[in-house]
Subunit: 297 residues, 2 copies
Protein backbone atom coordinates (compact mmCIF):
# COMPACT_ATOMS: atom_id res chain seq x y z
CA UNK A 1 0.00 0.00 0.00
CA UNK A 2 1.35 3.40 -0.98
CA UNK A 3 -1.22 5.74 0.58
CA UNK A 4 -2.53 4.49 3.90
CA UNK A 5 -5.69 5.74 5.54
CA UNK A 6 -6.99 4.26 8.77
CA UNK A 7 -10.72 3.82 9.22
CA UNK A 8 -12.52 2.90 12.46
CA UNK A 9 -16.19 2.35 11.67
CA UNK A 10 -18.50 1.66 14.61
CA UNK A 11 -21.48 -0.61 13.97
CA UNK A 12 -24.43 -0.90 16.37
CA UNK A 13 -24.30 -4.67 16.82
CA UNK A 14 -22.25 -6.13 19.67
CA UNK A 15 -24.15 -9.29 20.56
CA UNK A 16 -24.95 -11.36 17.49
CA UNK A 17 -21.58 -12.76 16.42
CA UNK A 18 -22.97 -14.11 13.17
CA UNK A 19 -24.19 -10.67 12.12
CA UNK A 20 -20.86 -9.13 13.16
CA UNK A 21 -18.98 -11.63 10.98
CA UNK A 22 -21.23 -10.85 8.04
CA UNK A 23 -20.52 -7.12 8.38
CA UNK A 24 -16.77 -7.57 8.88
CA UNK A 25 -16.48 -9.98 5.95
CA UNK A 26 -16.50 -6.94 3.62
CA UNK A 27 -13.01 -6.13 4.97
CA UNK A 28 -11.44 -9.54 4.41
CA UNK A 29 -9.36 -10.67 1.45
CA UNK A 30 -9.45 -7.35 -0.42
CA UNK A 31 -6.45 -5.89 -2.24
CA UNK A 32 -5.24 -2.56 -0.87
CA UNK A 33 -7.05 -3.12 2.40
CA UNK A 34 -6.16 -4.69 5.72
CA UNK A 35 -8.42 -5.54 8.64
CA UNK A 36 -6.36 -4.88 11.80
CA UNK A 37 -8.84 -5.51 14.55
CA UNK A 38 -12.49 -5.68 15.54
CA UNK A 39 -13.90 -5.97 19.02
CA UNK A 40 -17.48 -6.11 20.12
CA UNK A 41 -18.90 -5.07 23.46
CA UNK A 42 -22.14 -6.72 24.56
CA UNK A 43 -23.06 -4.00 27.07
CA UNK A 44 -22.46 -1.30 24.48
CA UNK A 45 -24.08 -3.52 21.83
CA UNK A 46 -21.51 -2.19 19.38
CA UNK A 47 -18.54 -3.41 17.38
CA UNK A 48 -15.52 -1.20 16.67
CA UNK A 49 -13.58 -2.19 13.54
CA UNK A 50 -10.06 -0.98 12.73
CA UNK A 51 -8.80 -1.21 9.18
CA UNK A 52 -6.23 0.47 6.97
CA UNK A 53 -6.24 0.81 3.24
CA UNK A 54 -5.78 2.88 0.15
CA UNK A 55 -8.59 5.38 -0.52
CA UNK A 56 -10.50 3.56 -3.27
CA UNK A 57 -10.48 0.01 -1.83
CA UNK A 58 -11.38 1.49 1.55
CA UNK A 59 -14.36 3.34 0.08
CA UNK A 60 -15.63 0.26 -1.77
CA UNK A 61 -15.35 -1.97 1.30
CA UNK A 62 -17.04 0.56 3.58
CA UNK A 63 -19.96 0.88 1.15
CA UNK A 64 -20.28 -2.91 1.10
CA UNK A 65 -20.09 -3.28 4.91
CA UNK A 66 -22.59 -0.48 5.50
CA UNK A 67 -25.00 -2.19 3.10
CA UNK A 68 -24.77 -5.37 5.16
CA UNK A 69 -25.19 -3.43 8.41
CA UNK A 70 -28.31 -1.66 7.15
CA UNK A 71 -29.77 -5.03 6.12
CA UNK A 72 -29.01 -6.69 9.48
CA UNK A 73 -29.46 -3.95 12.09
CA UNK A 74 -32.80 -2.44 13.03
CA UNK A 75 -32.25 0.60 15.25
CA UNK A 76 -35.90 0.70 16.28
CA UNK A 77 -35.10 -2.45 18.30
CA UNK A 78 -31.55 -1.55 19.37
CA UNK A 79 -30.53 -1.07 22.99
CA UNK A 80 -27.11 -0.60 24.52
CA UNK A 81 -25.19 1.56 26.99
CA UNK A 82 -23.16 3.45 24.40
CA UNK A 83 -24.81 6.53 22.84
CA UNK A 84 -25.66 5.85 19.18
CA UNK A 85 -27.68 7.36 16.38
CA UNK A 86 -27.35 4.84 13.56
CA UNK A 87 -26.83 1.24 12.51
CA UNK A 88 -23.43 2.55 11.43
CA UNK A 89 -22.84 5.10 14.11
CA UNK A 90 -19.63 6.75 13.00
CA UNK A 91 -17.03 6.36 10.23
CA UNK A 92 -13.79 8.29 10.86
CA UNK A 93 -10.96 8.47 8.31
CA UNK A 94 -7.45 9.06 9.64
CA UNK A 95 -4.33 9.94 7.59
CA UNK A 96 -1.47 7.52 8.29
CA UNK A 97 1.03 7.48 5.44
CA UNK A 98 1.55 9.56 2.26
CA UNK A 99 -1.90 11.05 2.74
CA UNK A 100 -2.98 14.54 3.75
CA UNK A 101 -5.88 15.48 5.97
CA UNK A 102 -7.47 17.10 2.91
CA UNK A 103 -7.47 13.77 1.11
CA UNK A 104 -9.18 12.18 4.09
CA UNK A 105 -11.80 14.94 4.12
CA UNK A 106 -12.39 14.38 0.41
CA UNK A 107 -12.72 10.63 0.97
CA UNK A 108 -15.19 11.13 3.83
CA UNK A 109 -17.41 13.25 1.58
CA UNK A 110 -17.17 10.76 -1.28
CA UNK A 111 -18.15 7.93 1.08
CA UNK A 112 -21.04 9.95 2.53
CA UNK A 113 -22.32 10.65 -0.96
CA UNK A 114 -21.92 7.02 -2.08
CA UNK A 115 -23.83 5.78 0.99
CA UNK A 116 -26.66 8.16 0.29
CA UNK A 117 -26.82 7.14 -3.36
CA UNK A 118 -26.66 3.41 -2.60
CA UNK A 119 -28.92 3.17 0.45
CA UNK A 120 -30.48 6.61 1.03
CA UNK A 121 -28.50 6.64 4.27
CA UNK A 122 -28.22 10.23 5.53
CA UNK A 123 -25.09 11.51 7.25
CA UNK A 124 -23.51 14.32 9.21
CA UNK A 125 -19.98 15.35 8.22
CA UNK A 126 -18.04 15.80 11.47
CA UNK A 127 -14.58 16.71 12.85
CA UNK A 128 -12.31 18.09 10.09
CA UNK A 129 -15.01 17.39 7.47
CA UNK A 130 -17.69 19.37 9.33
CA UNK A 131 -19.63 22.00 7.37
CA UNK A 132 -19.75 24.32 10.41
CA UNK A 133 -17.87 24.59 13.72
CA UNK A 134 -20.89 23.55 15.83
CA UNK A 135 -21.00 20.28 13.86
CA UNK A 136 -17.41 19.17 14.55
CA UNK A 137 -18.06 17.42 17.84
CA UNK A 138 -19.50 13.90 17.59
CA UNK A 139 -21.12 14.01 21.03
CA UNK A 140 -23.11 17.13 20.09
CA UNK A 141 -24.23 15.62 16.79
CA UNK A 142 -25.29 12.42 18.52
CA UNK A 143 -27.18 14.12 21.34
CA UNK A 144 -30.79 12.89 21.36
CA UNK A 145 -29.59 9.58 19.93
CA UNK A 146 -31.47 7.45 17.41
CA UNK A 147 -34.79 7.97 19.17
CA UNK A 148 -34.59 11.78 18.98
CA UNK A 149 -32.92 12.04 15.60
CA UNK A 150 -36.01 12.09 13.37
CA UNK A 151 -37.05 15.38 15.03
CA UNK A 152 -33.53 16.80 15.48
CA UNK A 153 -32.66 16.71 11.76
CA UNK A 154 -35.63 18.94 11.02
CA UNK A 155 -33.86 21.83 12.81
CA UNK A 156 -31.86 24.02 10.43
CA UNK A 157 -28.65 23.70 12.45
CA UNK A 158 -28.85 19.89 12.48
CA UNK A 159 -29.86 19.36 8.87
CA UNK A 160 -27.90 16.35 7.53
CA UNK A 161 -25.06 17.05 5.07
CA UNK A 162 -26.39 14.22 2.89
CA UNK A 163 -30.07 13.36 2.85
CA UNK A 164 -32.96 15.07 4.61
CA UNK A 165 -34.76 12.67 6.94
CA UNK A 166 -33.27 9.79 8.88
CA UNK A 167 -33.28 6.24 7.53
CA UNK A 168 -36.19 4.45 9.22
CA UNK A 169 -34.20 1.51 10.57
CA UNK A 170 -30.58 2.68 10.15
CA UNK A 171 -30.86 6.24 11.50
CA UNK A 172 -28.02 8.53 10.53
CA UNK A 173 -24.24 8.24 10.42
CA UNK A 174 -21.42 10.65 11.33
CA UNK A 175 -18.66 10.56 8.70
CA UNK A 176 -15.48 12.59 8.80
CA UNK A 177 -11.73 12.95 8.86
CA UNK A 178 -9.73 13.31 12.04
CA UNK A 179 -6.26 12.88 13.44
CA UNK A 180 -5.36 9.58 15.15
CA UNK A 181 -6.53 9.44 18.75
CA UNK A 182 -4.16 8.14 21.40
CA UNK A 183 -5.80 6.86 24.58
CA UNK A 184 -3.18 7.70 27.20
CA UNK A 185 -3.76 7.28 30.95
CA UNK A 186 -1.46 8.39 33.75
CA UNK A 187 -1.65 6.67 37.15
CA UNK A 188 -1.11 8.53 40.45
CA UNK A 189 -0.05 7.22 43.86
CA UNK A 190 -3.20 8.34 45.63
CA UNK A 191 -6.71 6.96 46.00
CA UNK A 192 -8.22 10.46 46.10
CA UNK A 193 -10.41 10.83 43.01
CA UNK A 194 -10.71 14.55 43.66
CA UNK A 195 -6.99 14.96 42.95
CA UNK A 196 -7.30 13.09 39.64
CA UNK A 197 -10.32 15.22 38.73
CA UNK A 198 -8.52 18.46 39.51
CA UNK A 199 -5.44 17.48 37.54
CA UNK A 200 -7.61 16.31 34.61
CA UNK A 201 -9.34 19.68 34.67
CA UNK A 202 -6.00 21.50 34.59
CA UNK A 203 -4.46 19.58 31.69
CA UNK A 204 -7.47 19.35 29.38
CA UNK A 205 -8.29 21.84 26.65
CA UNK A 206 -11.87 22.41 27.77
CA UNK A 207 -10.90 24.06 31.04
CA UNK A 208 -7.67 25.89 30.15
CA UNK A 209 -5.13 23.12 29.54
CA UNK A 210 -3.50 21.62 26.49
CA UNK A 211 -5.09 22.24 23.09
CA UNK A 212 -5.40 18.61 21.92
CA UNK A 213 -6.11 16.87 25.21
CA UNK A 214 -9.35 15.58 26.70
CA UNK A 215 -9.11 14.31 30.27
CA UNK A 216 -11.17 12.93 33.15
CA UNK A 217 -10.34 11.46 36.56
CA UNK A 218 -10.95 7.73 37.01
CA UNK A 219 -10.72 5.43 40.04
CA UNK A 220 -8.82 2.16 39.62
CA UNK A 221 -10.56 0.49 42.52
CA UNK A 222 -8.75 -2.85 42.40
CA UNK A 223 -5.38 -1.07 42.67
CA UNK A 224 -6.52 1.56 45.16
CA UNK A 225 -5.21 4.41 43.00
CA UNK A 226 -6.61 7.00 40.62
CA UNK A 227 -5.84 7.87 37.05
CA UNK A 228 -5.95 10.83 34.72
CA UNK A 229 -7.54 9.24 31.65
CA UNK A 230 -6.85 11.16 28.45
CA UNK A 231 -7.66 11.21 24.77
CA UNK A 232 -4.83 12.91 22.93
CA UNK A 233 -6.66 14.20 19.86
CA UNK A 234 -3.62 15.40 17.89
CA UNK A 235 -0.30 14.07 19.14
CA UNK A 236 1.56 15.94 16.38
CA UNK A 237 0.58 19.22 18.06
CA UNK A 238 0.12 18.18 21.69
CA UNK A 239 2.64 15.38 22.20
CA UNK A 240 2.29 12.71 24.88
CA UNK A 241 5.30 13.88 26.87
CA UNK A 242 3.77 17.35 27.31
CA UNK A 243 0.65 15.97 28.97
CA UNK A 244 2.77 13.57 31.04
CA UNK A 245 5.14 16.27 32.30
CA UNK A 246 2.30 18.68 32.99
CA UNK A 247 0.52 16.05 35.08
CA UNK A 248 3.76 15.45 36.96
CA UNK A 249 3.98 19.16 37.82
CA UNK A 250 0.29 19.54 38.68
CA UNK A 251 0.51 16.45 40.92
CA UNK A 252 3.42 17.92 42.91
CA UNK A 253 1.05 20.45 44.38
CA UNK A 254 -0.84 17.62 46.09
CA UNK A 255 2.33 15.79 47.14
CA UNK A 256 1.39 13.11 44.64
CA UNK A 257 3.65 11.41 42.08
CA UNK A 258 3.11 9.47 38.88
CA UNK A 259 3.41 5.71 39.28
CA UNK A 260 2.99 4.70 35.65
CA UNK A 261 0.92 5.11 32.53
CA UNK A 262 -1.07 3.13 29.99
CA UNK A 263 -1.59 3.33 26.27
CA UNK A 264 -4.87 1.71 25.30
CA UNK A 265 -5.30 0.23 21.82
CA UNK A 266 -3.30 1.19 18.78
CA UNK A 267 -0.82 4.07 18.73
CA UNK A 268 0.99 5.51 15.72
CA UNK A 269 4.76 4.93 15.83
CA UNK A 270 5.43 8.66 15.48
CA UNK A 271 3.74 9.41 18.80
CA UNK A 272 6.29 7.22 20.60
CA UNK A 273 9.28 8.21 18.49
CA UNK A 274 8.53 11.87 19.20
CA UNK A 275 8.51 11.04 22.91
CA UNK A 276 11.92 9.35 22.69
CA UNK A 277 13.31 12.31 20.72
CA UNK A 278 12.16 14.71 23.42
CA UNK A 279 13.62 12.87 26.39
CA UNK A 280 16.92 12.10 24.68
CA UNK A 281 17.11 15.63 23.24
CA UNK A 282 17.86 14.19 19.81
CA UNK A 283 19.00 16.87 17.32
CA UNK A 284 18.23 16.79 13.57
CA UNK A 285 16.51 13.42 13.62
CA UNK A 286 14.51 12.42 10.58
CA UNK A 287 11.85 9.76 10.95
CA UNK A 288 13.24 8.40 7.69
CA UNK A 289 16.08 7.06 9.86
CA UNK A 290 13.67 4.57 11.43
CA UNK A 291 14.43 1.25 9.79
CA UNK A 292 10.82 0.07 9.68
CA UNK A 293 9.71 3.31 7.99
CA UNK A 294 12.23 2.67 5.24
CA UNK A 295 11.10 -0.91 4.87
CA UNK A 296 7.45 0.18 4.60
CA UNK A 297 8.15 2.73 1.86
Amino acid sequence: MNKIIQCVPNFSEGRDLDKIEQIVSAFRGKNGLKLLDYSNDEDHNRVVVTLVGEPEPLKAAIVEAVGTAIRLIDMTKHEGQHPRMGAVDVIPFIPIKNVTMDECIELSKAVAQALYEAYELPSFLYEKSASAPHRENLAKLRKGQFEGMAEKVKEEEWKPDFGVAIHKTAGITAIGARMPLVAFNVNLNTNDIEIANKIAKNVRHLSGGLRYCKAIGIELEDRGIVQVSMNMTDFTKTPLYRAFELIRVEAMRYGVTIVGSEIIGLVPMDALIGTAEFYLGVEDFSHEQVLEKRIME
Copy 2:
Protein backbone atom coordinates in the same frame (compact mmCIF):
# COMPACT_ATOMS: atom_id res chain seq x y z
CA MET B 1 8.28 -9.86 3.19
CA ASN B 2 7.47 -12.17 6.08
CA LYS B 3 10.92 -12.81 7.58
CA ILE B 4 13.15 -9.74 7.41
CA ILE B 5 16.92 -9.83 7.81
CA GLN B 6 19.03 -6.73 7.43
CA CYS B 7 22.41 -7.02 5.72
CA VAL B 8 25.10 -4.32 5.60
CA PRO B 9 27.87 -5.53 3.28
CA ASN B 10 30.98 -3.31 3.00
CA PHE B 11 32.79 -3.32 -0.35
CA SER B 12 36.31 -1.93 -0.79
CA GLU B 13 35.49 0.53 -3.58
CA GLY B 14 34.53 4.10 -2.73
CA ARG B 15 35.81 6.09 -5.71
CA ASP B 16 34.75 4.52 -9.00
CA LEU B 17 31.01 5.20 -9.17
CA ASP B 18 30.58 2.98 -12.21
CA LYS B 19 32.03 -0.01 -10.37
CA ILE B 20 29.89 0.78 -7.32
CA GLU B 21 26.74 0.81 -9.46
CA GLN B 22 27.68 -2.54 -11.00
CA ILE B 23 28.09 -4.08 -7.54
CA VAL B 24 24.89 -2.57 -6.14
CA SER B 25 22.84 -3.57 -9.20
CA ALA B 26 22.60 -7.09 -7.73
CA PHE B 27 20.31 -5.62 -5.07
CA ARG B 28 17.87 -3.86 -7.39
CA GLY B 29 14.55 -5.16 -8.69
CA LYS B 30 14.63 -8.46 -6.83
CA ASN B 31 11.60 -10.04 -5.18
CA GLY B 32 11.90 -10.43 -1.40
CA LEU B 33 14.71 -7.89 -1.25
CA LYS B 34 14.92 -4.14 -0.75
CA LEU B 35 17.93 -1.86 -1.15
CA LEU B 36 17.58 0.80 1.57
CA ASP B 37 20.77 2.80 1.18
CA TYR B 38 24.34 2.83 -0.05
CA SER B 39 26.93 5.46 0.62
CA ASN B 40 30.52 5.56 -0.53
CA ASP B 41 33.41 7.37 1.12
CA GLU B 42 36.32 8.38 -1.10
CA ASP B 43 38.81 8.72 1.76
CA HIS B 44 37.86 5.33 3.11
CA ASN B 45 37.64 4.00 -0.46
CA ARG B 46 34.68 1.91 0.64
CA VAL B 47 30.95 1.64 0.07
CA VAL B 48 28.52 0.59 2.79
CA VAL B 49 25.28 -0.95 1.49
CA THR B 50 22.14 -1.42 3.59
CA LEU B 51 19.51 -3.86 2.44
CA VAL B 52 16.73 -5.95 3.91
CA GLY B 53 15.28 -9.16 2.63
CA GLU B 54 14.07 -12.65 3.18
CA PRO B 55 16.84 -15.21 3.77
CA GLU B 56 16.97 -16.91 0.36
CA PRO B 57 16.70 -13.83 -1.91
CA LEU B 58 19.25 -12.10 0.34
CA LYS B 59 21.68 -14.98 -0.02
CA ALA B 60 21.32 -15.12 -3.80
CA ALA B 61 21.82 -11.38 -4.21
CA ILE B 62 24.84 -11.30 -1.91
CA VAL B 63 26.48 -14.12 -3.85
CA GLU B 64 25.85 -12.19 -7.09
CA ALA B 65 27.18 -8.87 -5.72
CA VAL B 66 30.27 -10.49 -4.24
CA GLY B 67 31.01 -12.08 -7.63
CA THR B 68 30.89 -8.64 -9.23
CA ALA B 69 33.08 -7.14 -6.50
CA ILE B 70 35.71 -9.87 -6.89
CA ARG B 71 35.78 -9.23 -10.62
CA LEU B 72 36.11 -5.44 -10.26
CA ILE B 73 38.22 -4.92 -7.14
CA ASP B 74 41.93 -5.76 -6.92
CA MET B 75 43.06 -5.48 -3.32
CA THR B 76 46.73 -5.55 -4.30
CA LYS B 77 46.14 -2.03 -5.66
CA HIS B 78 43.66 -0.82 -3.01
CA GLU B 79 44.39 2.08 -0.71
CA GLY B 80 42.11 3.88 1.73
CA GLN B 81 41.97 5.15 5.31
CA HIS B 82 39.56 2.52 6.60
CA PRO B 83 41.09 -0.78 7.76
CA ARG B 84 40.15 -3.58 5.31
CA MET B 85 41.14 -7.14 4.52
CA GLY B 86 39.07 -7.98 1.45
CA ALA B 87 37.31 -6.75 -1.68
CA VAL B 88 34.20 -7.54 0.33
CA ASP B 89 35.38 -6.60 3.78
CA VAL B 90 32.50 -7.64 5.96
CA ILE B 91 28.95 -9.05 5.58
CA PRO B 92 26.83 -8.81 8.73
CA PHE B 93 23.32 -10.31 8.99
CA ILE B 94 20.94 -8.73 11.48
CA PRO B 95 17.55 -10.11 12.63
CA ILE B 96 14.75 -7.57 12.14
CA LYS B 97 11.36 -9.28 11.95
CA ASN B 98 10.08 -12.84 12.50
CA VAL B 99 13.67 -14.07 12.49
CA THR B 100 15.87 -15.41 15.28
CA MET B 101 19.56 -14.79 15.78
CA ASP B 102 20.09 -18.52 15.14
CA GLU B 103 18.53 -18.17 11.70
CA CYS B 104 20.93 -15.29 10.94
CA ILE B 105 23.87 -17.40 12.10
CA GLU B 106 22.71 -20.22 9.87
CA LEU B 107 22.35 -17.83 6.92
CA SER B 108 25.83 -16.36 7.51
CA LYS B 109 27.35 -19.85 7.36
CA ALA B 110 25.37 -20.76 4.25
CA VAL B 111 26.53 -17.56 2.54
CA ALA B 112 30.16 -18.14 3.57
CA GLN B 113 30.00 -21.65 2.14
CA ALA B 114 28.32 -20.49 -1.08
CA LEU B 115 30.97 -17.79 -1.59
CA TYR B 116 33.74 -20.32 -1.14
CA GLU B 117 32.12 -22.75 -3.55
CA ALA B 118 31.40 -20.09 -6.18
CA TYR B 119 34.59 -18.04 -6.04
CA GLU B 120 37.03 -19.79 -3.67
CA LEU B 121 36.64 -16.73 -1.48
CA PRO B 122 37.77 -17.57 2.08
CA SER B 123 36.04 -16.14 5.14
CA PHE B 124 36.12 -15.71 8.88
CA LEU B 125 32.85 -16.22 10.75
CA TYR B 126 32.60 -13.38 13.28
CA GLU B 127 30.37 -11.95 16.03
CA LYS B 128 27.55 -14.38 16.93
CA SER B 129 28.67 -16.75 14.16
CA ALA B 130 32.28 -16.96 15.42
CA SER B 131 33.78 -20.41 15.90
CA ALA B 132 35.71 -19.27 19.00
CA PRO B 133 35.50 -16.29 21.38
CA HIS B 134 38.78 -14.74 20.17
CA ARG B 135 37.29 -14.58 16.66
CA GLU B 136 34.14 -12.60 17.55
CA ASN B 137 35.68 -9.13 17.25
CA LEU B 138 36.00 -7.77 13.70
CA ALA B 139 38.89 -5.43 14.55
CA LYS B 140 40.97 -8.34 15.86
CA LEU B 141 40.23 -10.46 12.78
CA ARG B 142 41.13 -7.60 10.48
CA LYS B 143 44.36 -6.68 12.26
CA GLY B 144 47.25 -6.84 9.77
CA GLN B 145 44.81 -5.90 7.01
CA PHE B 146 44.90 -7.25 3.46
CA GLU B 147 48.65 -6.90 3.21
CA GLY B 148 49.33 -9.06 6.29
CA MET B 149 46.51 -11.53 5.80
CA ALA B 150 48.32 -14.11 3.61
CA GLU B 151 50.69 -14.80 6.53
CA LYS B 152 48.12 -14.35 9.33
CA VAL B 153 45.78 -17.10 8.07
CA LYS B 154 48.64 -19.62 8.33
CA GLU B 155 48.51 -19.31 12.12
CA GLU B 156 46.28 -21.93 13.72
CA GLU B 157 44.23 -19.39 15.66
CA TRP B 158 43.51 -17.34 12.50
CA LYS B 159 42.77 -20.22 10.15
CA PRO B 160 39.77 -19.20 7.99
CA ASP B 161 36.43 -20.88 8.70
CA PHE B 162 36.01 -21.44 4.96
CA GLY B 163 39.04 -21.90 2.69
CA VAL B 164 42.71 -22.09 3.63
CA ALA B 165 44.70 -19.31 1.92
CA ILE B 166 43.49 -15.82 1.02
CA HIS B 167 42.09 -15.01 -2.41
CA LYS B 168 44.94 -13.36 -4.34
CA THR B 169 43.04 -10.22 -5.34
CA ALA B 170 39.98 -10.33 -3.08
CA GLY B 171 41.65 -11.23 0.24
CA ILE B 172 39.27 -12.58 2.87
CA THR B 173 35.83 -11.61 4.17
CA ALA B 174 34.30 -11.52 7.66
CA ILE B 175 30.77 -12.94 7.65
CA GLY B 176 28.50 -13.20 10.64
CA ALA B 177 25.31 -12.47 12.51
CA ARG B 178 24.96 -9.62 14.96
CA MET B 179 22.36 -7.42 16.65
CA PRO B 180 21.50 -4.07 15.07
CA LEU B 181 24.00 -1.33 15.97
CA VAL B 182 22.68 2.07 17.01
CA ALA B 183 25.14 4.96 16.62
CA PHE B 184 24.12 7.25 19.48
CA ASN B 185 26.08 10.37 20.45
CA VAL B 186 25.49 12.59 23.46
CA ASN B 187 26.66 16.23 23.41
CA LEU B 188 28.00 18.02 26.51
CA ASN B 189 28.17 21.73 27.31
CA THR B 190 31.95 21.83 27.64
CA ASN B 191 34.86 22.01 25.22
CA ASP B 192 37.05 19.86 27.47
CA ILE B 193 37.75 16.63 25.58
CA GLU B 194 39.18 15.08 28.73
CA ILE B 195 35.73 15.18 30.32
CA ALA B 196 34.19 13.44 27.30
CA ASN B 197 36.96 10.84 27.38
CA LYS B 198 36.48 10.16 31.09
CA ILE B 199 32.71 9.82 30.75
CA ALA B 200 33.12 7.57 27.69
CA LYS B 201 35.47 5.38 29.71
CA ASN B 202 32.94 5.15 32.54
CA VAL B 203 29.92 4.20 30.43
CA ARG B 204 31.56 1.74 28.02
CA HIS B 205 31.73 -2.01 28.57
CA LEU B 206 35.48 -2.26 28.01
CA SER B 207 36.37 -0.28 31.11
CA GLY B 208 33.61 -1.20 33.55
CA GLY B 209 30.46 0.39 32.11
CA LEU B 210 27.40 -0.90 30.30
CA ARG B 211 27.53 -4.36 28.75
CA TYR B 212 26.46 -3.43 25.18
CA CYS B 213 28.04 0.01 24.85
CA LYS B 214 31.20 1.13 23.08
CA ALA B 215 32.17 4.78 23.64
CA ILE B 216 34.86 7.34 22.89
CA GLY B 217 35.19 11.09 23.45
CA ILE B 218 35.02 13.31 20.36
CA GLU B 219 35.54 17.05 19.84
CA LEU B 220 32.90 18.93 17.81
CA GLU B 221 35.28 21.77 16.95
CA ASP B 222 32.84 23.89 14.95
CA ARG B 223 30.40 23.94 17.87
CA GLY B 224 33.06 24.27 20.57
CA ILE B 225 31.68 21.32 22.51
CA VAL B 226 32.53 17.67 23.06
CA GLN B 227 30.58 14.49 22.60
CA VAL B 228 30.41 10.98 23.99
CA SER B 229 30.17 8.97 20.77
CA MET B 230 28.68 5.51 21.27
CA ASN B 231 27.89 2.33 19.45
CA MET B 232 25.03 0.58 21.21
CA THR B 233 25.67 -3.03 20.24
CA ASP B 234 22.46 -4.55 21.63
CA PHE B 235 19.75 -2.04 22.46
CA THR B 236 17.43 -4.83 23.58
CA LYS B 237 19.74 -5.45 26.55
CA THR B 238 21.42 -2.06 27.03
CA PRO B 239 18.74 0.46 26.02
CA LEU B 240 19.55 3.98 24.82
CA TYR B 241 18.02 5.68 27.86
CA ARG B 242 20.35 3.80 30.20
CA ALA B 243 23.46 5.15 28.49
CA PHE B 244 21.88 8.62 28.29
CA GLU B 245 20.95 8.74 31.98
CA LEU B 246 24.32 7.32 33.04
CA ILE B 247 26.12 10.02 31.04
CA ARG B 248 23.93 12.63 32.69
CA VAL B 249 24.96 11.38 36.12
CA GLU B 250 28.65 11.00 35.26
CA ALA B 251 28.65 14.53 33.80
CA MET B 252 27.28 16.03 37.03
CA ARG B 253 30.58 15.31 38.71
CA TYR B 254 32.27 17.78 36.34
CA GLY B 255 29.48 20.36 36.59
CA VAL B 256 28.62 19.54 32.99
CA THR B 257 25.18 18.92 31.50
CA ILE B 258 23.85 17.24 28.37
CA VAL B 259 22.85 19.65 25.60
CA GLY B 260 21.50 17.16 23.11
CA SER B 261 22.12 13.93 21.28
CA GLU B 262 22.34 12.46 17.80
CA ILE B 263 21.29 9.21 16.21
CA ILE B 264 23.39 8.52 13.13
CA GLY B 265 21.98 6.40 10.31
CA LEU B 266 19.19 3.89 10.66
CA VAL B 267 17.68 2.89 13.98
CA PRO B 268 15.18 0.11 14.66
CA MET B 269 11.79 1.41 15.78
CA ASP B 270 11.92 -0.72 18.94
CA ALA B 271 14.97 1.18 20.21
CA LEU B 272 12.95 4.41 20.25
CA ILE B 273 9.68 2.87 21.40
CA GLY B 274 11.53 1.31 24.36
CA THR B 275 12.87 4.75 25.23
CA ALA B 276 9.38 6.29 25.17
CA GLU B 277 8.05 3.44 27.32
CA PHE B 278 10.74 4.06 29.92
CA TYR B 279 10.26 7.80 30.27
CA LEU B 280 6.46 7.62 30.31
CA GLY B 281 6.54 4.61 32.65
CA VAL B 282 4.10 2.77 30.38
CA GLU B 283 2.70 -0.39 31.96
CA ASP B 284 1.82 -3.57 30.03
CA PHE B 285 2.54 -2.13 26.62
CA SER B 286 2.81 -4.55 23.71
CA HIS B 287 4.67 -3.46 20.62
CA GLU B 288 1.75 -5.03 18.74
CA GLN B 289 -0.15 -1.88 19.72
CA VAL B 290 2.04 0.15 17.36
CA LEU B 291 -0.10 0.79 14.31
CA GLU B 292 2.76 0.48 11.81
CA LYS B 293 3.80 -2.89 13.27
CA ARG B 294 0.30 -4.17 12.66
CA ILE B 295 0.29 -2.82 9.14
CA MET B 296 3.65 -4.48 8.38
CA GLU B 297 2.50 -7.89 9.59
